[in-house]
Symmetry: C2
Subunit: 277 residues, 2 copies
């Protein structure tokens, strides 16, 4: 279906997909599994916000949406069509059969970071990067990607048994930021850090036990921040790999901050000083 610019493709209704037991539903739903994503290099994208950003990035291969959803957000089908993606009107039951978190929109999209490594991401200028070690909660992970994007980071790395950043809930929780900056996987922390150190970045560990407080830290050099697991914090190997450890001040009685909050504060503190150059 090709339409003129700036117009959302019209949906007929007559040909809407309805067979929830179809082979197609089964095939799309398989992308919720990591193995299927690895095999195909494709993602399952859920919800209007993430589908919009995937479509604007020209990555949507197949968009499934209800007539109501198409009416509410015509720009998503328009952007999909613009970049040659296929648009499939479907019943609400059909879209829900693919994902209960669809809110009327699911897409199969190419994963822009499939097969990327930290080294490859250094083909572009990286002045601010975030490495997460063993981040496990998909919602936290997606929020952290969104914050890294907002803070102007150039790279996000998920190291050492972190959740798969291409998992549907991570992509959805990132509100589409997954499509805005490289989000790559690494093995153990040193594998993530070594190329960044060679590229001249200072390695900063976010560590609640550090002497140096974030509010007192000079952060004028390009840097990579290391953030640890939600419960255990950073590993000894990560702390040893860092040039400096920095803690976020806890003023009240909370024991710590959520890892996505910590990343937001640290990355914004860095960008504030980097931009002030």
């Amino acid at each position: 279906m090709r339409v003129e610019h700036d117009r959302a493709p019209a949906l007929s209704g007559a040909s809407a997909l309805t067979n929830v037991a179809s082979e197609r539903v089964r095939r799309v739903r398989r992308l919720a599994k990591r193995s299927a994503r690895s095999e195909t290099g494709r993602l399952l994208v859920e919800g209007p916000q993430a589908c919009r950003e995937a479509a604007l990035a020209g990555l949507v291969v197949d968009l499934y949406l209800t007539a109501d959803a198409a009416h509410a957000h015509p720009e998503i089908a328009a952007a999909t069509d613009e970049s040659g993606g296929h648009i499939h009107e479907a019943s609400a039951e059909y879209v829900r059969a693919i994902s209960t978190d669809a809110q009327g929109f699911v897409a199969v999209a190419g994963d822009p970071w499939s097969g990327w490594t930290v080294a490859r991401s250094l083909d572009r200028l990286v002045r601010l990067a975030a490495v997460f070690e063993q981040i496990r909660d998909p919602g936290n992970a997606g929020t952290a990607i969104r914050s890294a994007d907002a803070a102007g980071a150039d790279l996000v790395v998920f190291a050492d048994q972190s959740v798969d950043p291409a998992a549907p809930k991570v992509v959805r929780s990132s509100a589409g930021s997954y499509f805005h900056l490289p989000v790559v996987r690494a093995g153990m922390i040193e594998e993530a850090v070594a190329p960044l150190r060679r590229a001249g970045l200072e390695v900063l560990a976010a560590d609640g036990a550090a002497d140096l407080a974030l509010g007192a830290a000079v952060l004028e050099r390009p840097a990579v921040w290391l953030f640890g697991n939600e419960v255990r914090g950073l590993s000894a190997a990560a702390l040893a790999a860092a040039d400096r450890s920095i803690r976020i001040e806890i003023h009240g009685r909370a024991e710590s901050l959520n890892v996505a909050m910590a990343a937001t504060l640290c990355l914004y503190a860095s960008i504030g000083q980097l931009r002030a150059d």
Copy 2:
């Protein structure tokens, strides 16, 4: 069961609760509903972290835990016992029947903020407060309470059709911070703001469309920050009620920040300047 100080009460195993169909399970589980919480002034507290903080605050009336959970975190039963709460060993199935998010621990606790208003919270000194207007996601709401606590805020207000801050998922997502600082409800935004303005606080609206950037804002006066709905932002009434509107700089391509992230950045920016007095 009373024991000496610093010793966790011993669990016998023999008398563990196992009847998942019991009236007791039904009664405890009812506290997941707002109406039951309002009637009783009690909360349903899920998971070790929130149960620990409720117990340390002396608020636990009944603690239900498995033998394994008791062994892993003996301090929770000890603190419950210390303040006169009842400890009930229960089977894993029993605890799960009360809440699937229990991780071995659920408690019935007094709600420390039941019946509190903004005006009443001003009996204590309030230098930094956060008002959320129509915050809807329980996970965001809990994370925001945790961040407000960490940032040293003195008060959190949930106004105008926000999620109930006493809902189990909010309390759990707050990692126990719900028990650390007053978390009160208000009606429309002006009802929340008026007493705080009379108490001398500057009213600051977090608004992505504002001219003044957070990094450039002077924040030396005690202040109340207003944060809006996840999708729509602040209402016109809230923007009109504010002395100043301030935006968080978006350096990358993200459209906005999650409301809990925005609150974290704004409250930390304020406390940094308030503490520098």
